[in-house]
Assembly symmetry: C2
Homo-oligomer: 126 residues x 2
């Protein structure tokens, strides 16, 4: 009897954890940023971008992942896949000193910026 109660409690806990984790995944915010950088300032831009990305990942619990890639044929075309825990995490992020510093630093380096909100279809990783 005691074992049955324990098993039921354990099962309940598993369902609770799973539901909670699915709800967290559902709230995640995915965004693609496409950035055209002034070619003569590409190195400076890349430095500022990395500094911002690393600070946000280190300091903000709600900033989950950044992947920045550059077109092989035109390295001034940069695409960033951004993942935040939820909309609140994103809204806090854009108020942080490191994000504000980045925006100020790159304002004359970025020739165009296109933001696309996206939903995750599927992710598979080793």
């Amino acid at each position: 009897m005691k074992q049955m109660i324990l098993s039921t409690l354990f099962l309940g806990l598993l369902i609770l954890i799973n539901t909670h984790s699915n709800a967290q995944d559902k709230n995640k915010m995915y965004r693609i940023a496409k950035i055209k950088v002034d070619a003569s300032q590409l190195d400076k831009y890349t430095f500022a971008l990395k500094e911002q990305m690393n600070a946000a990942i280190k300091l903000e619990s709600g900033v989950l992942s950044y992947t920045a890639v550059a077109d092989k044929k035109d390295p001034t075309l940069i695409t960033i896949l951004e993942v935040y825990a939820n909309l609140d995490a994103y809204q806090s992020h854009i108020l942080t000193p490191h994000f504000k510093k980045y925006k100020e630093t790159v304002k004359d380096m970025v020739l165009s910026l296109e933001l696309t909100d996206v939903d995750l279809v599927s992710a598979a990783t080793k």
Copy 2:
């Protein structure tokens, strides 16, 4: 003296591991695929895509990661960030039965496909 030799060997080993790992990273192949799907077949397309992604990640050591996202404003616009261990891994991948099955299944579902080879600028993840 014995300690010094051991320390030197250990340092040498660390440098070797680090060089090897950097070389592996340098060979990685990153690609962005942009796909426009026929709206009336979106569910079928998504099913086939997930099946291909999961099979490749499970069966092929050189297929490292897929992240597929859909534009919130137009879910028929799908972007996939693909990461392979190297060019050979990619070339083997497109000859696998699961990839060939995917291409055959989706050939009338995909309205356009744009492939862009990219270089990693930086990645930061929790």
